[in-house]
Amino acid sequence: MIESQRHSYHLVDPSPWPISGSLGALATTVGGVMYMHSFQGGATLLSLGLIFLLYTMFVWWRDVLRESTLEGHHTKVVQLGPRYGFILFIVSEVMFFFAFFRASSHSSLAPTVEIGGIWPPKGIGVLDPWEIPFLNTLIPLSSGAAVTWAHHAILAGKEKRAVYALVATVLLALVFTGFQGMEYYQAPSTISDSIYGSTFFLATGFHGFHVIIGTLFSIICGIRQYLGHLTKEHHVGFEAAAWYWHFVDVVRLFPFVSIYWWGGI
């Protein structure tokens, strides 16, 4: 911390990233709607918006890493902010996924006459839950064990072992995504096949998307651990990644039990 500072709070410098992120989000939304309604220039605006958004994410997080790791602004009390913020973010993610499971349960507990009054709807082929779906539930759980190994290795000051553990976490995540891609490719139904396809692919697809985000988060943590950014006392970024990863692997249990297993037999 700076010598002359007599408090432990971080008074942030003015930053252009909140407004650039907002403009990127606006361009993405408007461009996305234009693209889906076949307006001229929709694809261009959507692409520019996404590039702008990704650029903002990169430079904003780069600045946060500089402020915390290089400038030492993240004191114990400052660390509370990102912790509470991240916990609230995960709570909002739980609600996001709850909506999809609710939609699935609503549609499957009392199937309408339009789909033959049965679940899965008449004519819908389902996957055997004990083949790829079960394997793809064990893989994220093993990856969750690997991230716990990484956490204890960081706390024990075993820097190299922590890197290995994060490599294992990421490899398992990539294998999961590979199997999920294979499952989608071989699946007998698609997202446009009745309410079954809609709820199935929305829930499992958003879970898969979250796995990809968690994989990127773990890759960044692995690189930062390799570079020596994470210490025994200060590794908030890693903790957030570990919480997120545990959220993603626990959430997988719900589609496995309710959509693949209960809803598919």
Binding site: Y35, P121, K122, A156, A168
Partner: protein
């Protein structure tokens, strides 16, 4: 009378709790497992659990992959299957809809 005793008891407990140095010691964060040795043992335990998970997943992956993928029969064209309400910007099919067996 009884409520007054409870009130004064609670009051002294709160005051006492806040003023004694013991409270400061108690507020210091202590973990069930602290110190390098315990963390190293925990790391080693979770490393073993990870290896066990990888071994199980590898066996299951080999079993699943050796089965070959299942073939499904084409269902009758019920109105709720293959729903099309409007054209996609990129063509007739959804981006991930074109399947091997189609």
């Amino acid at each position: 009378m009884a409520s007054a005793i409870v009130r004064s008891g609670l009051g002294s407990a709160i005051r006492g709790g806040a003023s004694t140095p013991r409270a400061f010691i108690a507020s210091k964060r202590t973990f069930a497992s602290h110190g390098h040795h315990d963390e190293a043992a925990e790391a080693s335990k979770w490393e073993k659990i990870t290896y066990l998970g990888i071994a199980t997943c590898t066996i299951l992956a080999v079993v699943n992959l050796s089965k070959g993928h299942p073939h499904h029969e084409e269902p009758p064209s019920y109105p709720y299957l293959h729903i099309r309400n409007k054209e996609f910007p990129w063509g007739p099919d959804g981006l991930f809809e074109v399947k091997e067996h189609h």
